[in-house]
């Protein structure tokens, strides 16, 4: 919009082309975003199998949820997987971005190569990783064996399963975060580096003393996005440990080691057709994410006031 826009008051009605132009988003959001959100809140107070009558049960679903050890297990799993994936993802991304930033040749080739995992079908990726982590015939165990290390049952040991899921996520999101960091790095003025060089700083020192501090707002942004993303992780576990049996699918694999909160929600709502309880779980997930957002917010505030 230009600064020379007329100051005269126009009637609201005359703005209809503009409203029309932005309406598709709001219409779609209302139908596929707002309505399901509100309806799920309504559902959380009912018992419903998707076809029959809804039965009002008050706070029963939430009461059950608080005592549901499986839900708390899913919560712990989700945090473990989130931690195991976010920390390496962001560390690798930062290093890769720094290397991309100083690359001289084929820069766009590298950028595309690192971004490709992010747009690859997650199902295909998870199936591939399932083969890589296979106990007896997987690539990882083959390496361990040649190195003389003991074999790990990646897909049946509860901790190994979390590592398997976390590596899928790391693989997928490292390039994406690296591209974001790269954008931030390119905004850092080069005279800072030149000044540092004159003062005798090496590349490692420049990275830790200039690049990382200057990138702080961007790092914070990626932490928040990774948190929101990680707390809702679902597909990785679903595909890696999804349908081992026809009778009991999507329970998160052996020992429920890879059961995440959203997978548990999916299992209750769409496998057991227990939509009321599923809705209650999804609201619990929402509360957990709100809690995290508040913690993040507090951290940012403190940083700003320091």
């Amino acid at each position: 919009m230009s600064a020379a826009a007329p100051r005269t008051r126009r009637s609201k009605r005359s703005y209809w082309p503009q409203y029309l132009a932005i309406s598709p988003f709001f219409v779609i959001f209302a139908a596929f975003g707002l309505f399901p959100v509100l309806f799920s809140l309504y559902l959380a107070f009912h018992r419903w199998n998707g076809l029959g009558e809804m039965e009002f049960v008050g706070l029963d679903q939430f009461r059950f949820l608080v005592e549901d050890s499986t839900f708390w297990l899913a919560l712990r799993n989700t945090f473990a997987i989130w931690f195991l994936s976010t920390v390496p993802t962001l560390c690798f991304a930062l290093v890769i971005a720094a290397m991309l930033n100083s690359a001289v040749r084929f820069t766009s080739v590298y950028r595309v190569a690192y971004f490709v995992p992010n747009i690859t079908s997650l199902v295909a990726v998870a199936i591939f990783f399932g083969a890589v982590f296979s106990t007896n015939f997987g690539l990882v165990n083959a390496f361990l064996q040649t190195a003389g290390l003991p074999v790990v049952e990646w897909l049946t040991d509860p901790f190994g399963m979390k590592i398997a899921v976390a590596s899928v996520m790391t693989w997928q999101w490292t390039g994406y975060n690296a591209i974001i960091y790269l954008a931030g790095m390119q905004a850092i003025p080069s005279d800072l580096y030149e000044a540092a060089k004159v003062d005798g700083a090496g590349p490692v020192q420049a990275f830790f003393r200039i690049t990382v501090p200057m990138l702080r707002p961007i790092i914070l942004f990626t932490v928040i996005v990774s948190t929101v993303n990680g707390l809702q992780s679902f597909t990785e576990s679903q595909v890696l440990f999804g349908s081992n049996t026809t009778l009991n699918p999507n329970t998160g694999g052996p020992g429920q080691g890879a059961l995440t909160m959203v997978l548990y929600f999916y299992h209750q709502a769409f496998d057991n057709r227990d939509f009321g309880y599923g809705a209650a779980i999804s609201w619990a997930v929402f509360l957990v994410i709100v809690l995290f957002a508040v913690i993040n917010w507090r951290l940012v505030q403190r940083r700003a006031s320091e």
Partner: protein, 429 residues
Amino acid sequence: MELSRRRILQLGMFGVAGLATGGTAACSTSASGGSGGDKAMDLWYWADGLSKKVVDEAVTRFTEVELRPQQIGGNFKEKLVTTMSSGGTFIPDITGIKGEDFASFTPQADRFHNLLELGADKLASQYLPWKWKKGMTKDGKLIGFPIDIGPTAHFYRRDVYAQAGLPSEPDKVASQMSTWEDYFAAGVELKKAVPNAFIVSEAWAVYNVAVGQANARYIDESERFIGDQDHIRKAWDLAVRATQLGINAKTKAGTPDWNAGLAGGTLASLTGASWVAVDIQSAAKDTTGKWGVAAGPGGTANIGGSFLAIPKECQKPDVAFKIISWILSPENQAKGFTDSALFPSTPATYTMPALTSPSEFLGGQIPAQVLGPAAQKIPAQYESPNDQAVSAPFAIELGNIEASGKDPNTAWADAVAEAKRVGQRLGVK
């Protein structure tokens, strides 16, 4: 240079776009058109849920309607429930319902036509009685018309059994391993003779079949929880015993390890439904002729096996029923077996040429000679709409015993307590 707000916003949009691509990558839908005249009749099924050849023939045969068969991919139940709860014109006129999902539809029997009122009672004698009963509600309405069944049997590697000094001919295998105890004893011998060879693939393969061999499941007909009783405990103890004897490979079905075990001979036997043979064949193509099938230990059970139903929205239920009963007639079920490995629910089919030809993969054996008699010995079990939800804790706790060596008695107590809690939430007494 400071990072501007616009830049942050740009990055934010980028992030949201990235999340959206990640989140939707796993979903694929195949929508169906709801247009067409009054003559249109939609039939929903899944790949290999019916013989495609028979369905195509039905399209040209029944010209009083325009039959439009659609193979629905992905989670079939989810799509059917969503469509039916939204109401309207997209609801199919005829739909398949998978065996494991069927019980969960019975509380909404009024959403389907009672097939007995459309003349199904005259056909009852052609179908296996226990399967026919499975398609009925407690108050005697027939809403599911039998497609196929999944009689269980004992699939085994002839060469590996022979190597271990065990019998390798089906008759002898069946008589020596007629009980679970004898089957496990053979497993111990096998392990001794052939290192790394297991007779049990996973605890679930024993437990699920053993539960199916009983006369009741987790919930009785008055919707009371009975999962803590002896019939379930017996199946549980068998699965635990197999694990304690060290003859359990703890390999989940369908995983790369499972495929490799079947191909390499370390998984020397599987107890499962008739369609397991198809799974083995696709996992281990190179083992053609090395497999055999024998009557399973401890009797037979049924796993899976589907139904066709006619939702209430169908305008011409009499025509729909005519189509269903033709597609699933004993003659056409023979084609279903040939084309899609659907084991017939009609005993008359078991003696037809399609089922009496020897299977090259099973070493020239005629599988129906084992599975046919087995199919007729399957106990009729009442399956509650909440059966699946209540059974989940048992599967999970068995998995805990396998994965982390949890104490079996603690695991049992936890499974029962959790099943009761889940049942209570769902209204089980």
